[in-house]
Symmetry: C2
Subunit: 334 residues, 2 copies
Amino acid sequence: MKNKKVVLDRYPEALPVADVMSVQEEEARVPGDGEIQVAVDYLSIDAWIGTTLSPGWLHTLIPEGATVPALGVGKVLASGSLDFQEGDAVFGPFAAQTVATVPAEGCSVVDTSIAGLSDYLGLLSVTTGLTALFGIRDIGQVKEGDTVVVSAAAGAVGSVAGQMARALGAGKVIGIAGGPEKCAFLTDELGFDAAIDYKSEDVEQRVGELAPEGVSVFFDNVGGEMLDAVLEHIQERARVVICGAISQYADNNDVYGPKRYLRLAERYARMEGYTAFHFADRYAEGMKDIAAWMGEGKLKMREQVEEGIESFPRALEMLFTGGNTGKLLVHTGS
Amino acid sequence: MKNKKVVLDRYPEALPVADVMSVQEEEARVPGDGEIQVAVDYLSIDAWIGTTLSPGWLHTLIPEGATVPALGVGKVLASGSLDFQEGDAVFGPFAAQTVATVPAEGCSVVDTSIAGLSDYLGLLSVTTGLTALFGIRDIGQVKEGDTVVVSAAAGAVGSVAGQMARALGAGKVIGIAGGPEKCAFLTDELGFDAAIDYKSEDVEQRVGELAPEGVSVFFDNVGGEMLDAVLEHIQERARVVICGAISQYADNNDVYGPKRYLRLAERYARMEGYTAFHFADRYAEGMKDIAAWMGEGKLKMREQVEEGIESFPRALEMLFTGGNTGKLLVHTGS
């Protein structure tokens, strides 16, 4: 059996661009003791992948020539582990390839009777649904009547964070996104109260107009001047949740620091960061909470599916240039 | 009776410099109904005064020609209020002058049997002792064994914050100050475990050497690159307390934003700001706590006293150029 994998040919100069990666074919490896072989169905395109390709970030840099890491879902083809059987639907760090032979530890069987297979890369995944949950609920502490602003709001994490804010009782949910289509998606499909198109509008001015009462919680995935624009409007006791900074991943040594950070002192406010991994002991509990909201129809996830393993490099580039709406997936077609 | 007052002749270009102020003499005004006339003894030199002289900051800009605001202590000369009697020792917003006639509301009688008169501008004042207390205890949440770093540590607020951290059980207290004399003051007189001289040492490197376990709490009064240097070394769940940013008050429109703020996300850490005024309903309780520590000999305050109202402009300039150690006071000699 053949495996097609996406390898890193050379480090990108800044953001990950498609042409630093290429697809190679090899013989799929038979699983050894404690390993499973998986026919990968969907791969999750996440921002953290980009940080494994450029020096200085949170994640360890992968070597040139290595397969690009990614989380995926698929079906077990062969198992060298007692915990997995042929045909099981599984989630795991399969990397960007069509047939993955990986340690069974770190993978998990998923229940496709309660949610679709790809939901385990979206609403029910650590990097999307759980990231949004811990950020908006535990760090942001959204409560009844709060005014919540979400950046990168048409992205996977942002779109869920905004819906969760509403489910937690927020009085007003405002999303910031790029372009009229994404903005319409937020207000028309997801029930956001308002959307700001950062490509054509002055974010600082618009936040002031839409939230004259000030911002209680800002869930930020963008950083840079957008963070400053919202900091200008935070309320007293506001919570600014630093989930990510997609605008700043190009160069870790030249990050734009928020010039308005002294608003925190003026307004007895807080900026707190996290990754979902810091809540690792609460994944199971969090997935239950998300599943309950899904059952009540409170959470929608739009999926943008790119076809074929060959589309992986372009999909990753797209994530950093704002080309996607909702959860970006690669369907390997294996 | 004559009053000598310090007036603002023109706005400074950046930081307050002595020559934008001058001393004028006038007849002291007899107090009207609800007012008191006070012979001002000591004036407190605080950073917030600078922000009333330059546009765009927390405090309202004072008009040119106005008396420069300041907190002071003194004795009541004449009272138009039933709450105050001639001879009472009082604290209040007397402004930079020798004889103040001000509304009685906003002033308070102080008990000089439990602390010296000038302590009410230092350890027991809102802008110094209470600022340190609420910052290090309530925002910083210093607990047993924490590693605490304080910037502007030889200043009034910083020197108290460090001692309070120790009183709260911190395992290691490190101060950052300018020059060998201030550093010796911290370690030899105040019992800090170590001091870093930012004028001759690489702060980022030294914090790493002195606190290889990482920093649990950073109490920051400086901002700028010093904030970044310490952010690089924060522990998981660290609390970065934004009390002030004396390095950044020159130009509100060109504040240095902390480029390392993404360490907050990597380490599930928090940056929180405040002013003592946000804790206004807890002043009495806080003063009791501070008085208790004073009684146990756990808090020392060095006072640097400049003689004469004429020294006020120079003293204010000095605060922004790092010329003082401990609490900077002007003794009006009235």
